[in-house]
Symmetry: C2
Subunit: 545 residues, 2 copies
Amino acid sequence: NRALHRIIVWTLLLTVTVCDGWLFDGFAARRHSESDEVALWPLPQKFQTSVDAFRLSSASFQIVHAKESTAGPSCSLLQNAFRRYYSYIFGNGRKHGKNLENVFDADLAELQVQITSADPECDGYPSLKSDESYQLEVNQPTAVLKAASVWGALRGLETFSQLVYEDDYGGQNINKTSISDFPRFAHRGILLDSSRHYLPLKVILANLEAMAMNKFNVFHWHIVDDQSFPFQSRTFPDLSHKGAYHPYTHVYTPADVKMVIEFARMRGIRVLAEFDSPGHTFSWGKGQTGLLTPCFSGSSPSGTFGPVNPILNSTYDFMTRFFKEVSTVFPDAYIHLGGDEVDFSCWKSNPDIQKFMDQQGFGQDYRKLESYYIQRLLDIVSTTNKGYMVWQEVFDNGVKLKADTQIHVWKEKPPYQDEMARITAAGFQTLLSSPWYLNRISYGQDWLGIYKADPQNFNGTAEQKKLVIGGEACLWGEYVDATNLTPRLWPRASAVGERLWSDENVKDVGSAYDRLVKHRCRMVRRGIPAEPLYIGFCPHEYSGN
Amino acid sequence: NRALHRIIVWTLLLTVTVCDGWLFDGFAARRHSESDEVALWPLPQKFQTSVDAFRLSSASFQIVHAKESTAGPSCSLLQNAFRRYYSYIFGNGRKHGKNLENVFDADLAELQVQITSADPECDGYPSLKSDESYQLEVNQPTAVLKAASVWGALRGLETFSQLVYEDDYGGQNINKTSISDFPRFAHRGILLDSSRHYLPLKVILANLEAMAMNKFNVFHWHIVDDQSFPFQSRTFPDLSHKGAYHPYTHVYTPADVKMVIEFARMRGIRVLAEFDSPGHTFSWGKGQTGLLTPCFSGSSPSGTFGPVNPILNSTYDFMTRFFKEVSTVFPDAYIHLGGDEVDFSCWKSNPDIQKFMDQQGFGQDYRKLESYYIQRLLDIVSTTNKGYMVWQEVFDNGVKLKADTQIHVWKEKPPYQDEMARITAAGFQTLLSSPWYLNRISYGQDWLGIYKADPQNFNGTAEQKKLVIGGEACLWGEYVDATNLTPRLWPRASAVGERLWSDENVKDVGSAYDRLVKHRCRMVRRGIPAEPLYIGFCPHEYSGN
């Protein structure tokens, strides 16, 4: 009789073998062959499932804390997640709780969530070191999700919800399944840019939702830049009052920032704020007189301004106070300090800068001046006990860096493979964005190239490869705002999500296409306007707007 | 004192001179220099304005039928338009009507709309010959909009609404202005494809709204194709029941189609339906057995199907009945019959087709077989008293065409300029889409290339140029659906809108950029998620979704 139970093994890992001991005869399980309707994204590390299907009743199915769990009803992060995933599975507005006793033999009665660490981290923040692994056993009458902390539980809840599929009668079903899962990389980020265009909170929150659906765990908030300064500082309110597109309608208040951080935390997502300097700071100058370098035209000031003025003590006083505030506003252990694309022409034009260069013995090497500035900035930020992340130029220009600095690779030339080899050979942690500038668009299925890129695809030792903490999909803001950001990012960023979560051998684009088509329809059904990969349809088309 | 009244002439036409007789001294007009906040799109043919500004009170401003108008309150098309444009100007939910008598000296009390033709065409459908010209005089206390028919009035109402600007106190203002306007081309279309992806009605209606904001007047509905047949036919219900993505959720019922046509009519937009054949018909075959050519593999049928089978009488019987229905469902005087991209390989494989080719003396020239089919189809459609439009291949392949056939140019090779020269030299009307395939995307400001293309930019006589009836922006559906269609189309299609409406000398991209940035913010404010051209912000960002 066991021959009836065709075991479907989806995982590509050699370490997984079909479990001999799965004897289903004792279960009152229906046979259901629609497991191909299930599309897991990103693909779990180890995964086996059978054709035995259980029903989920919206009236009685529950997600509950396991008795043995170190977390309980006081863990609002999980309570919220239970509610969220119940809604994803059944939609809103279902009656529940009337028939809790009315569980049939073929039903999956509940999902028990068991946190195993002494500290479940219910009220903590996710970090680079968070344990996101989980084990999920779906069996009748109870499914069990085990994780060391809430962070793994969140990932497992997402996977559980993706296992549920709708049958032809609108009922929700799930197959007997066993999953053991963990991320390949610890840093899986999305960069949004709220300076080139202001992004209303609603857009940011919707993208945090989409990130959780794709197991991303870092929101890299490129919050300010040349064009506008929407971050409202308590210490320096003029920065946004004069530097934002509009001082009231186009700013993020402290309450807004708090909400983003908490909304992200509830989904296991870190908020990594970037305050890029000394370049990309034009908007800072509007509210902070004297911060930027006055450019000269011949022997007189031209009236325009360049990068942050690195020769004034007032600059470092300002940065000290500013980053002190930033370090308290953003709880994450890291701050992104930028450091990219510094244009030296204004510094070159300024006689005071030239004099300083002479005094310091920098000659005409403005990279040394840049390094001088960055070095002092890093010292300032170090006093806040934050780690820092910088764009690759800071490494390229030879700035002395703390050993735990993370170098963010974004350039296409030199080839990013060479850059990552150099950075890791020097012993630094690194993360990749070069092939994942998703603001760049072209006609057709460009997710394929996005999917194929791999952060560990460079010549280096195993030790070097271990220094790769992950990567980020970047959506720079020149051409996107609330009107088009979300469909432009999703599901293209999903391709990055699987690359950073799943095993390195998960790279069959045929399988990826089939799963991603269904995964994007799932995002659409959950209210995310993820664009189509190609011709086709979703059972439930996007109805927002 | 007259020197104070700086007359701003925006028009680029030499025929317009500053009117000497504008004496404003008698008006209780405020001076307002913010006319640069006004961004007209597309730019009217003749336009002069002054700095004298009048206020519009939401409580008392009215859009009314002029006493002399041949249209009155029974003209529901205009009644609806009045309400729509009042909302665009003031937003919804304002109190109105309490202070109709309370008009101040500096106020613009009302806009009078005067239809001058004996038949205002309130209940008619727009056509290629509709007169869309209008004259608009904004002066205190009354503005007057004159047009021969409702179609011109609709265009003038849009322009009037674009003249209104918000001051720093949230009040609405309009400057003394005189406009005489008419379209450069009679056919200004947008093609949407509801076959590669199903487009919910909401999306189609939103785009009809956006079309009206850009003075487009043709919705080319590429309603069916290989991938799906969402058009629900009363005569052949199996076509959509078996050929749509889903027989209930992914179809357009007769009521849906009626709604689209009426919604478009209210905005002066024709609905030009395309039923493309003999190629692009795979989905037709699902609900109409025997319609498509069976392909052969060697001497036996392969089980796959090719284009419509042109050698069977049953094919022409079907087409006769089908197009009889189509011609009554769609009131427009034209039907688009497609005729593009016919793949001959299936015809070649079929022995019955080969036999027919021999009988007809076609040799191995399958273009002759295609022409045979198209010729019979055109004869069928002619009996419905419709004119027809076809893709350029039908002309290229030498099909005998009625003199009033419109040839739709879409290929990039040979250069469209050569093609249009040939078509017009043969005496046919033509319209251009080659440079306006807006489904094709690239990184950056591609609206510039879109804007620069001109349908009359080919070598030909003045007579030939007159045969160019306009053009269409096409958004083919492979990569767009409800999630991303609207921001991908707008404001890029707006560039086509100005090219087809405004004078041929309106081509300054600097002026166009400034106006289009504001015009896209206006679309956003009216609820259309038109994407940004580049860095910047809108006073009212998109809040939908």
